[in-house]
Amino acid sequence: MTRPEELLDPAVAERVLARALAHGGEFAEVFAERRGGLTLAIDESRIESVQSGAEEGAGVRVLSGATTYFAHVDGLDPADLERAAGEAAAALRAERAEPRPLRSEAPSPQPVDQPPGDVPAARKAELLRELDQRARAAGGEIAQASASYGEARREVAVANSDGLFSGDDRTRVRIGAQAVARRDERVETGAETLGAARGFELFDDDPAAIAETAARKALTLLDAVPAPTGTMPVVVGGGFGGVLFHEMTGHGLEADHVQKGASVYAGKLGEAVAQPLLTAYDDGRMPGEWGSDAIDDEGAPTRKTRVIEEGRLIGFLHDRRTAGREGVAQTGNGRRESFRHLPIPRMTNTYIAPGDAAPEAIIGDVAKGFYAVSFGGGQVDPATGDFVFGVNEGYLIEDGKVTRPCRGATLVGNCLQALAAIDAVGNDFWMKTGICGKGGQKVPVGTGQGHVRIAAMTVGGTEA
């Protein structure tokens, strides 16, 4: 494990911060990072696209009034860092401010038993071959299989003019499997992933099962009928089904959107936004989860934030700026893709807490509806609350039973209405991994929930 002092010498950090505040400003920060990773893929049963990289750099920011001045450089040479500080300060025209002396306080990173960098590349290739074989063995109609492996390590150090000096050493591993099934002219695809903020030990327990899952999804879709069109009850599956909550509600709780009035949840703190059966959290400390870190990218320790309590909206997700503006505590949600980006409020692991309904009962009560097991992704406009999701595994519900698979379904709606329409939350619960994009920055996030039912929602299908 790298200590932050090994990445960023505190004496250099103090000089950089002093330089950053040379022309004024209330706050300065230097964020140093070393990032490295390895990816490989298997396609047509051949290991390919083996890529290995290492990058270093730093970002310096100065806050003055409502304005952020930011500069970043590649490399961690002290002279480069000071130059970046000079560039960040260049447009400021005020009196010099003085940073406070640094005090070190780095919490423990997420534990890693088996650093992936210590595992030979051949073992990773072997893992991909297992995935490839498992997908191909799933059925004669599997026409193609491919899989990918990725490991990444981010060592970060943060120092700021309030005297904070902290750091984190983050390791993540993830595998993905894709399968293509073909029957005559019919072609369908399926995908599945497994990832964590852990080491290679994640793959101790039958990782290749995800390839079988991907293949099963593709095979199932061969029998799919066109998705229905219209408004109906929709049951959303657990795990990655949580991406629906992430998109339709989570983004609207990020305080930057809220403070600009660009969130449908602005001004609704304390109000009922869902039925009392719904409680939800953002938790950056869940052990080993994909969205977990020890600190956020401003050095604030991550934490568990209850955002919705029994249907009432009680909290937003803050970074340093949004928390300061509102006079509330930081929630450890100031995240950035890399040293090349400014931190902004982001989700970590966001989930609907388990309810008390059995998943069978949630489906059993539906006479005619749609069962969305997993999504290909989605998009929401936080200002209007309008969203759209592509369903990549979905089924009809007829007379309380899951019947035929459907293809080409999208869910379209508005978050306020859809959240308020959740009338059942399952007692089953699990988390899945996602990559979330916002403002041109991608960060790893966890999504989760049990089965959830939305009483009425628009399903846009391919059925004419």
């Binding site: 290991i47 290995s52 270093e56 952020t68 960040a88 992704g377 592509g390 709606g413």
Partner: protein, 462 residues
């Protein structure tokens, strides 16, 4: 030779020394600026310098890739070591081989082509001449324009200005040497309009090689118009009807089409165009070129990511699919010649087949004529979830959309929360008319397209 070109050449030498049979280095350095404004104030100013190098190596028929930001002698050696180690982990691929050097050496130049060819200026000198204060003022002007355009515009979520000047150097053991400079800038905003039942958002944007080429006034006005026109929107009834795609929407679909035309997707059986070479894949109204030399295109460069000269390639003409797009690997595998379509996302990833600038030929119908021809249908001004709503293998899609009703041959009430569904080829075959006013759109690649009238499409609402 610039320092960057020397570093690229140095990386190649170190890769050979580390055991590679062949090597190819791609180095880039860029200076970027970004300004974000909100509520009449500058929210953030960013200045950045970036520098990195990616190294592709071949050991026999195995390929590996390494990259890094440390371009010192030691750093280049470390990148070379990583690339060689990566190649050793790869399986043999009979088609893997370094791209052959072009017959004519590609020179450091901003001009493209031989004697007498028009000079392509890819770098606008004003990019460095405009001070940060001046470009901040441009971003503020974008915001002001949206607020002034319509009283119903309550706020601007954010107005953004970005510019970048970049130098690229390529070197390969097979003899490739190239170096060039480009610049680009863009500005956009998201305007918020207050409606009877909630807020509406509208995007306005413009792009150019330098700040002088941006029209701040027009960007703000577009955002305001797109937001206010959605006030009072409702779901349309589900039906099949004529659909007009706004250029921003058409561009997203054209971007998907460019991906489907890439030989890699075709050879791996993952393209809806895989078995369509020479076939009727579109109506005659839809003419598409991949043009790596269009002076206005942002993918324009003297050479592609492997040093093969960029060119203009007809993709769809007379309704027929004329060719796929090739880089050197897929060309070897498909027994074809590279079309100069090796692209890169930057030094962090190896080259792969991608469209350069996709240019849809404009037709002769004005916007008003397209609407008259559609008579009764839907104008789609925005789509969401395209990345998740499309099956890349079959081209079948169902995506969320918003727009306006077309009633009596003119734009009518605003529509939201509907989906449009079809498949790529069926949609292209149903293109009835291309509009006469093309626009460059940076979504889903670099695309220039006019609005398109689709004869019939499934619209799902209530």
């Amino acid at each position: 030779m610039s320092e960057l070109a020397e570093q690229a050449a140095g990386a190649v030498e170190r890769a050979i020394a580390a055991g590679a049979g062949d090597a190819e280095a791609y180095a880039s350095e860029a200076e970027n600026r970004e300004v974000r404004v909100h509520g009449g104030e500058v929210e953030s100013l960013t200045a950045a310098t970036q520098r990195g190098l990616g190294l592709r190596v071949w050991i026999g028929r195995r390929v590996g890739y390494g990259f890094g930001t440390d371009l010192s002698a030691g750093g280049l050696a470390a990148i070379a070591a990583r690339a060689v180690e990566a190649a050793r982990a790869a399986d043999e691929d009979e088609f893997a081989a370094p791209p052959a050097a072009p017959e004519l050496p590609v020179r450091l130049s901003h001009s493209i082509g031989g004697e007498g060819a028009p000079e392509l200026v890819l770098r606008d000198p004003t990019i460095g001449e405009w001070s940060i204060d001046r470009v901040a003022e441009l971003a503020l002007a974008v915001e002001r324009s949206a607020l002034a355009a319509d009283a119903r515009v309550a706020a601007v979520e954010q107005a953004v200005y970005f510019d970048s000047g970049e130098r690229t150097a390529l070197a390969a053991s097979a003899g490739v040497r190239a170096e060039y400079e480009t610049s680009s800038c863009y500005a956009y905003l998201q305007a918020l309009a207050e409606g009877e039942d909630g807020r509406e958002t509208g995007l306005g944007f413009d792009l150019a090689r330098g700040p002088a080429g941006l029209d701040a006034e027009a960007i703000g006005r577009e955002g305001a118009e797109r937001a206010t026109e959605m006030i009072g929107s409702a779901k349309p009834a589900s039906r099949r009807c004529p659909v007009v795609l706004d250029p921003t929407v058409a561009a997203s679909f054209v971007g998907l089409l460019g991906g489907a035309a890439g030989a890699n997707a075709v050879q791996r059986g993952r393209s809806p165009l895989a078995a369509m070479l020479g076939e009727q894949v579109a109506s005659e109204a839809f003419i598409l070129h991949d043009d790596g030399l269009d002076p206005q295109g942002f993918a324009t460069a003297p050479v592609d990511a492997e040093g093969v000269p960029r060119r203009r390639t007809p993709l769809i003409e007379g309704g027929r699919l004329r060719t796929f797009l090739y880089d050197s690997y897929t060309a070897r595998r498909g027994d074809a010649a590279s079309t100069g379509n090796a692209g890169r996302l930057g030094y962090r990833s190896p080259p792969s087949v991608s469209a350069s600038n996709l240019v849809v030929a404009p037709g002769s119908a004005s916007g008003a004529e397209l609407l008259r021809e559609a008579a009764d249908g839907v104008y789609v001004s925005d789509v969401a979830g395209l990345h998740s709503g499309v099956n890349p293998v079959t081209g079948v899609f169902s995506v969320g959309a918003s727009g306006r009703a077309i009633e009596g041959g003119a734009l009518g009430r605003p529509l939201r929360e509907f989906t449009i569904a079809s498949d790529l080829v069926s949609m292209l075959r149903a293109v009835r008319t291309a509009g006469s006013e093309p626009r460059w759109v940076p979504f889903g690649g670099s695309v220039s397209t006019p609005p398109l009238l689709i004869g019939e499409m499934t619209v799902s609402g209530s």
